[in-house]
């Protein structure tokens, strides 16, 4: 087990390194010129100033040496110069924002808790709701209750998420004022405000994302309930709900965990629509804003964070598997 985790961590590290190289290369060979972006910010860009910026930012160096500087910055402090001004960047340095000159790492640490709160609670809510709906749809399969649950979730999942979230915001906050219009506040500052700002986004995530888990959970449960060991459990004299949850769901949950692991990783990498629509200052919104103004250090940082999260989630799911299914031996 320990050896397995070490080997997987090494592999995960390599994946992250290669991803970072690809991200770096994409921006290096991409059509936009970071120097031009900075230079154009105040609208008074001259060729001379752009050349100066290119030199100062080291954009004329080879891609290998630029990547070397980037990697070195992850471990030691460095200073990023635009020729006219110097910006300090403490390790681990992911660069400084072209627009504000703020350190990307510090901003990431600042904005991440919002995304984390949104993703973890929202993800848990829709997982639980979806699976519970799926279990009961499977229990009542073929009946009107089953059709209602499956049909209802089909309708909800047919609505594009951004429209669903926009409608929720428009109707529930602006129009009917059922939910307060509040600004995201870190939980450490004011747990009440944190909760009230995130409540509707959580509920929207829960309702919009649970249908896929309902359908997946139903399928997995229906399959499990036809297994011989379910009949054995019933033959022992177990109450129906114990057969359903302790024997049925226990086995049916395994494939659901796999999907959820990857899903939550994507969510943790930034819930773009949700953050944007509900004005939550998380890394999804941050990344999207950066794309609009071509703030490359921020874009590459968000891409890198997403890659690390997906790799980690995969690892966690694989390790979790050996706890969920005793037949899986990690070696």
């Amino acid at each position: 087990m320990f050896g397995y985790i070490v080997r997987r961590l090494i592999a995960a590290f390599l994946v992250v390194v290669i991803t970072s190289m690809i991200v770096f290369a994409l921006f290096f060979y991409g059509p936009s010129n970071p120097a031009a972006v900075i230079c154009n910010q105040n609208g008074r860009c001259t060729d001379a100033r752009q050349t100066l910026l290119e030199d100062a930012l080291g954009l004329n160096d080879s891609v290998v040496s630029q990547y070397g500087i980037f990697v070195k910055g992850l471990f030691v402090d460095r200073t990023i110069s635009t020729g006219s001004a110097d910006f300090p960047c403490d390790a681990p340095c992911l660069g400084v924002s072209f627009r504000t000159g703020q350190e990307v790492t510090a901003q990431l640490v600042d904005k991440y808790p919002a995304t984390f709160s949104l993703a973890i609670v929202g993800g848990t809510l829709y997982l639980v709701l979806g699976v519970v709906i799926g279990v009961f749809a499977a229990k009542w399969r073929g009946t009107a209750g089953d059709r209602l649950l499956v049909g209802g979730s089909l309708i909800i999942s047919s609505i594009p998420y951004y429209i669903f979230a926009l409608l929720a915001w428009l109707l529930l906050i602006t129009e009917w004022k059922i939910f307060p219009q509040s600004v995201y506040t870190p939980i450490t500052e004011d747990p009440g405000a944190w909760f009230s700002a995130l409540l509707l986004p959580w509920l929207v995530l829960m309702v919009a994302q649970s249908p896929q888990y309902a359908r997946f959970g139903r399928g997995s449960m229906v399959e499990t309930l036809s297994e011989d060991y379910i009949r054995t459990a019933a033959a022992k004299g177990l109450p129906r709900n114990r057969v359903l949850f302790k024997h049925g769901l226990r086995a049916a949950i395994v494939p659901i965990v796999t999907i959820f692991g990857l899903d939550i990783a994507a969510l943790l990498g930034g819930t773009v629509f949700t953050e944007y629509i509900f004005g939550i200052d998380g890394i999804g919104k941050w990344g999207l804003d950066a794309i609009r103004v071509l703030d490359f250090p921020i874009i590459s940082a968000t891409v890198l964070v997403s890659a690390v999260l997906v790799v980690l989630a995969n690892l966690v799911v694989d390790i979790l598997y050996s706890f969920l299914d005793p037949r899986v031996r990690l070696a």
Binding site: E227, D228, T232, A235, K236, G237, P239, H247
Partner: protein, 362 residues
């Protein structure tokens, strides 16, 4: 080991007191029909089946796949989904009527008075729980004991069914057991509450022949010790010959022949039973003699054949005048020997068997 036998605790259920007739056999199935409504029509899985098993007796139920063997036995445990099953007739377990009984009544019977052993122990045991956990779950469900006592009981049961190092194996998962060991564990689990009736649904089909013999021996030994009634469902007449006192032959959801094991194996009076006997390999006799399979396939239970359900495959139907086999369902009538019952129009089946059939199939 004697401690194990005393494990049964009286259940404080007033229904226990209403034992109708003390002389009645432990299990009485009377005119049982099990039908499943489907989109294509009504499936006549079991029709008008009657039998009884007393404590200490073993009833063998034989028949092809889909003849209603398992369906009728699962009805005894009330394992059919009530909403998707139409059940009529009567099943009395220890005097208690269970057709139409509430789920809570059934739960007290299931795994306690009546236990079941399933065909494939690999799929019938939960892959994610240890053997010990599955046994203790069954035990604690019907006995108010703490986990430690239950686990001790599980170890005792594993020892009883001949699992070496039971105190270690009790914490292992089904996939760590061999096929025979898994079936032993399954038996241990079904016997943990000292059931009075044990239904074994093809318990040896998934096992190889040597293990098969061990499991059958084990079941017989345990039956002697516990004095329980046993229903052995199988399509293997070899198993029947070894273990059964009485035999019930099923075809298309009906009992077609019933009698003591010896009667059925030596004086069968129904062409379907002849067919079953003809399909058994006899390794001690002339091995060059080909087996005689029954022609055709089992009938659809959605539209069972009119008359005798076996007539489309029967090679003797011409001996019955007026084509009655195709039009009239033969009644279950007394055979030539005591307690023997058969469902056939043939005028003197025993004579036909002696003169025509016996030579061919032996």
């Amino acid at each position: 080991m004697t401690e194990v036998l005393e494990g049964r605790q009286p259940q404080g259920d007033p229904a226990d007191a209403t034992q109708a007739d003390p002389s009645e056999p432990f299990l009485v199935v009377d005119d049982l029909s099990v039908h499943f409504p489907t989109h294509d029509g009504l499936v006549h899985a079991v029709s008008n089946l009657s039998y009884s098993v007393g404590l200490g007796e073993t009833l063998g139920i034989v028949g092809e796949s889909g003849s209603g063997k398992s369906v009728s036995s699962m009805a005894v445990l009330g394992l059919h989904n009530v909403k998707r099953t139409r059940m009529t007739g009567s099943i009395r377990v220890g005097g208690k009527e269970i057709v139409g009984a509430s789920d809570s009544t059934m739960r007290k019977i299931r795994g306690n008075d009546v236990a079941m052993i399933f065909q494939d122990p690999l799929t019938a045991l939960h892959p994610f729980y240890t053997i010990g956990k599955q046994i203790t779950e069954a035990y604690r469900l019907h006995n108010k004991v703490d986990k430690k006592t239950a686990k001790r009981r599980a170890v005792e049961m594993l020892e009883l069914v001949g699992i070496p190092q039971p105190d270690r194996r009790v914490d292992e998962y089904p996939h760590q057991f061999s096929g025979g060991m898994r079936q032993r564990a399954m038996i241990a689990m079904s016997l943990v509450n000292n059931p009075k009736l044990l239904i074994a649904d093809e318990p040896t089909t998934a096992l190889d022949v040597t293990v098969q013999a061990q499991i059958l021996d084990l079941m017989q030994d345990l039956q002697k010790e516990f004095g329980s009634a046993v229903i052995m469902i199988t399509h293997d007449l070899g198993v029947i010959a070894e273990i059964a006192d009485e035999v019930l032959v099923m075809y298309a959801g009906r009992c077609v022949e019933k009698g003591t094991c010896k009667e059925i194996l030596t004086h069968p009076e129904m062409p379907y039973t002849w067919g079953l006997l003809g399909s058994v390999a006899d390794v001690s006799g002339d091995t060059s003699k080909p087996l005689i399979p029954i022609p055709g396939t089992p009938p659809s239970l959605l539209n069972p054949p009119t008359g005798c359900s076996f007539h489309p495959r029967c090679t003797h139907k011409d001996k019955v005048p007026d084509g009655r086999c195709a039009t009239e369902l033969p009644a279950l009538r007394a055979g030539r020997y005591a307690l023997h019952q058969t469902r056939c129009h043939l005028p003197d089946p025993d004579a036909i068997y002696e003169t025509e059939v016996k030579e061919k199939i032996r």
